[in-house]
């Protein structure tokens, strides 16, 4: 039953990467989530990444209908979902075929042999059965007739149709994986009790199948040894596993509550940003007004209207949507209203690679509007810190009376990780510039001396009636002005206002070497990959490599130049053709920057980064 060409592995592992793959209907996301939650509660550090097909209901057994969920768990710090996998659970031939590339040689593959029928092999375009033709001899393949055994386990449970029976075979696989990695089953059993409350036969069925898989793995000694991954050293506190888009939505909820403003979201569905809309629309109990507009433009314009009327106004989108919103963002910049624009980047240009990740909207965020039109641009760097940066986007918009573009990307938006839950009470205060009373010689363009933020008189306030608009304004009165010098002054004031934000953001930090031979620079969602690569190379003895990751792009932290000057060489790593590096080159002309760029819709792999860094030192 087992093909072995085993490389024996240690019993206690530092970290392990598991990938569950099957048909869209095989419940792989659920299986992965259960394994994730159980491991999180066990105390491991975690990073996950789902991989859905873009087809909603692809034909069963087809290569393009394969759905997967990857989870990386460790007793050490985990910062990415992992490149290659230690264990692949493949529910059918198509899943095996499309994921085999990721399995480390000598490592384990569990397959459901019942699905390796002639029909499914044909659909997966296998000419011969890979389980029999020797093509898998470099792996440890555990062949299990999972469907048969699931049916057998459930033969005494009444009230189940055939479909429910075969559908629960994912729990058989999960049971096996729980045994292999020495995980407790109780979290998943609790989950069944909650999910199927009142449907006793479903609770019983799923629990039985989970146990069947678990004991099958144990009694048949399919696996020579079970492994364990000890709890990671994490800061004590209350945690939960959170996905990037949910964290973004929750950061906005926290900001609304902290600022005492109502939250308005104007949005139009677009992959991979839509989950933020899905999440916020649930929270009417907090007074959230989530408005699904007729298009991207109405999404942003409705938010601008809400900002004028005094709400914390948000619009969410992805690259093509940001292009459509450009003119309206220019208006928000011109009328100087607080507005948060969240762009969950995906592969571009045009429709590009909607379900894949990329960092290629940076230039669009910086410059994608007509005229001199600076806005604040910030970027989140992990699934859980999407919470912080969504909050930060709202804080900066309100405190500086300007649009803020927050860049996340498909990789961190769909990925998940442990989040040490932040209480709203612990978040920084958020000021705003609303005014209630009229002063003598009042103007809507009166500015705060320190920040140059204008005041925020909102409709409904007696005595503050005023008109704003996209035409250039007199810098004192706010009335329309075509006066040449005034236009130049206003252009410079709007730029200066954004520049002054540098006084309200933290300094850039470095990790590993704080000076030395090489500085690795990244921004946004590549933090995990870059951190993990620099850590590894540093652990290997390269102690002169430092790492600086940017969350604040416009303006940049004040100490950026000082950091750059501490290293002999600088390499800027981005999932684009070199957008951030060109901003750095323009701004810091006395430094030389080398680049590492990848434009494949995929995150960086550890190996490619380490290889490049080693060449430079």
């Amino acid at each position: 039953m087992i093909t072995t060409k085993t490389i024996l592995q240690p019993e206690v592992l530092e970290a392990v990467v598991v990938r569950f793959v099957g048909d869209s209907g095989d419940g792989m996301q659920l299986t992965g989530t259960q394994f994730t939650d159980t491991s999180a509660m066990f105390g491991n550090d975690i990073a996950t990444f789902p991989n859905y097909p873009s087809e909603i209901r692809a034909p069963q057994g087809s290569l393009y209908g394969v759905s997967g969920f990857q989870v990386h768990i460790g007793s050490v710090e985990i910062s990415t979902p992992g490149d290659n996998v230690d264990l692949l659970v493949a529910m059918n031939p198509a899943a095996l075929k499309t994921n085999l590339y990721a399995v480390k040689p000598g490592h384990t593959i569990i397959v459901d042999t019942d699905s390796f029928t002639k029909k499914n092999l044909d659909k997966a375009e296998y000419k011969t059965n890979p389980l029999e033709d020797g093509s898998l001899e470099n792996y440890r393949v555990i062949q299990v007739d999972m469907t048969t055994m699931t049916k057998e386990a459930l033969k005494d449970v009444e009230g189940l149709d055939n479909k429910s029976i075969t559908r629960s075979k994912n729990m058989f696989a999960l049971g096996m994986v729980y045994w292999m990695y020495n995980r407790p089953k109780d979290h998943t059993v609790d989950f069944f009790n909650k999910k199927f409350k009142g449907k006793q036969h479903l609770i019983e069925a799923n629990t039985k199948v989970l146990n069947a898989g678990y004991y099958f793995a144990e009694t048949l000694e399919l696996i020579p040894n079970a492994y364990t991954i000890s709890p990671a050293k994490m800061i004590p506190g209350t945690y939960r596993i959170i996905g990037g888009n949910t964290a973004t939505a929750w950061g906005l909820l926290a900001a609304a509550e902290k600022s005492g403003l109502e939250l308005f979201l104007g949005s139009y569905p677009i992959t991979p940003a839509t989950d933020i809309l899905h999440e916020l629309v649930k929270h009417k109990h907090f007074g959230v007004k989530a408005f699904q507009a007729e298009d991207e433009i109405a999404g942003v314009t409705s938010a601008i209207g809400a900002a004028f009327a005094g709400d914390l106004a948000i619009t969410t989108t992805s690259g093509p949507g940001l292009a459509l919103k450009g003119e309206a963002i220019g208006l928000a910049m011109m009328v100087e209203l607080p507005l948060v624009i969240i762009n969950v980047q995906r592969g571009g240009p045009s429709t590009g690679l909607p379900t894949k990740t990329e960092q290629s909207d940076l230039m669009q965020a910086m410059y994608g509007r007509n005229g001199e039109s600076p806005v604040i641009v910030i970027a989140a760097s992990t699934p859980s810190n999407c919470f912080n940066f969504a909050y930060e986007a709202a804080r900066l918009a309100l405190e500086h009376m300007t649009p803020v573009i927050l860049l996340t990307d498909g990789y961190i938006a769909n990925g998940s990780a442990p989040w040490k839950i932040k209480s709203t009470a612990d978040m920084p205060a958020i000021k705003n510039h609303k005014i209630a009373k009229i002063k003598e010689n009042w103007s809507p363009y009166d500015r705060d001396e320190k920040t140059l933020a204008r005041n925020w008189p909102v409709p409904g306030t007696p005595g503050l009636e005023h008109r704003i608009g996209g035409l250039e304004k007199d810098r004192v009165t706010g009335n329309i002005s075509y006066e040449p010098i005034n236009h130049e002054e206003m252009t410079r004031i709007r730029a200066e206002k954004v520049r002054l934000v540098e006084n309200n953001i933290p300094e850039l930090k470095t990790e590993f070497a704080d000076s030395g031979d090489l500085l690795v620079i990244g921004w946004g969602g590549t933090y995990g990959s870059l951190h993990s690569a620099v850590k590894q190379i540093s652990d290997e003895g390269y102690k002169n490599i430092g790492f600086a990751h940017f969350n604040y792009i416009n303006p940049m932290p004040k100490n950026t130049e000082e950091i750059l000057s501490k290293y002999k060489k600088i390499i800027v790593c981005e999932l684009n053709a070199g957008q951030f590096v060109s901003i750095l080159k323009t701004r810091f002309t006395k430094f030389e920057f080398s680049q590492h760029n990848k434009i494949q819709g995929l995150p960086f792999s550890n190996d490619e980064l380490i290889q490049h860094f080693k060449q430079l030192v």
């Binding site: 800061i235 004590p236 929750w250 926290a254 298009d295 314009t301 709203t424 005023h466 008109r467 329309i480």
Partner: protein, 338 residues
């Protein structure tokens, strides 16, 4: 409009801003401005609760000339911005000021969706069948054959009828009025304000520079009583200098008849029911070329978007265990690291 404070007393001067009005002399836009400034004191709304939102075009300069809150935004997008204002603060009286280019061309999509949703706001569309601010190109309401700067040999693109488009998008309130009729226009603005739901008012607005006289055939003082029928809810559809013409339904068409001829009496004439949900007759009236229907053609009270949202929010709030964001953050699948 519900207001939280006692309504102050105003005159039209209270709604006049200090900005110099820059429309061309003789433009009907002045009539619209003055009618609005006269209507507002009659609406029972505080000045600080009034917001004018416009897009781009001659019409869209309107907010600058009012002393209320206002925003002059970008081309075609005023409905989105106005929707956001109203949803953020339902206590405001929100007005979209737009033109045929702004609302029918570049903003056509927002126009239909605004009407579909039925948010309680008002839209005044200045229809002059031409682009004025860009100096004279044909618009989506320009007639076939119209010679303009962008159609020197005559326009070949068939026009929209704004009213038909609006009713197709399920407009609950639609009125049409000549740009030279301030008295009725003022009343229609008041009616629109009082109506709960999206109100659309099409003003047949003469552009003295690029399309002068385009509505003369129906709006000229000499002919308007014979060429227009001014509709009032509950009143018979009678028009004409001598009040002797009327509308009857002949099979599936509206027909003009003369009272006293062929045995027709006033009892035979249709009575206008603007509040009817079924829009069949409203559509016929909107399409009618002779006489041109003006006044409030449709005024059907329906549930507004805000009412639906408020009801849902109240329901969700009463069922929810989440009072603060922290309740949500610490709910469900959490675990302790010690």
């Amino acid at each position: 409009m519900e207001t939280t404070t006692a309504v102050k007393k105003y005159t039209f001067k209270d709604f006049t801003s200090d900005q110099e009005v820059r429309w061309c002399p003789g433009c009907d836009d002045y009539v619209i401005l003055r009618s609005m400034q006269k209507a507002l004191p009659e609406m029972g709304v505080n000045k600080e609760d009034v917001v004018f939102i416009s897009g781009i075009g001659c019409s869209s300069r309107f907010p600058y000339y009012m002393s209320t809150y206002g925003m002059h935004t970008i081309h075609g997008r005023a409905p989105g911005i106005a929707s956001g204002v109203k949803l953020a603060n339902p206590n405001l009286s929100v007005w979209v000021m737009t033109g045929d280019g702004d609302s029918m061309a570049i903003g056509g999509n927002h126009f239909i969706h605004l009407l579909r949703r039925n948010i309680d706001l008002n839209m005044v569309m200045f229809n002059n069948e031409i682009y004025g601010l860009t100096k004279g190109q044909f618009s989506p309401t320009s007639i076939i054959g119209q010679k303009t700067k962008s159609s020197p040999y005559g326009n070949t693109q068939p026009p929209f009828s704004p009213g038909e488009l609006a009713l197709g998008a399920n407009a609950r309130f639609f009125a049409r009025i000549g740009g030279n009729n301030p008295k009725d226009m003022t009343q229609i603005f008041i009616d629109a304000h009082k109506f709960k739901g999206t109100s659309l008012i099409e003003v047949l607005q003469n552009c003295v520079i690029f399309n002068d006289g385009c509505f003369d055939e129906v709006t000229d003082k000499e002919v308007k009583e014979d060429k227009q029928i001014f509709l009032e809810h509950g009143k018979p559809m009678i028009f004409g200098k001598n009040n002797d013409k009327g509308l009857v339904l002949n099979k599936l068409k509206l027909e003009v008849v003369t009272i006293g001829e062929n045995g027709i009496t006033q009892e035979d004439i249709l009575v206008h029911n603007a509040k009817e949900e079924d829009k069949t007759l409203h559509q016929m009236l909107v399409r009618l070329e002779y006489p041109l229907a003006t006044g409030v053609i449709r005024s059907f009270t329906d549930v507004t978007l805000e009412e639906r949202e408020d009801a849902l929010t109240a329901q969700v709030k009463s069922n929810s265990k989440f009072k603060k964001a922290d309740d949500l953050f610490f709910s469900g699948e959490t675990y302790e690291v010690k």
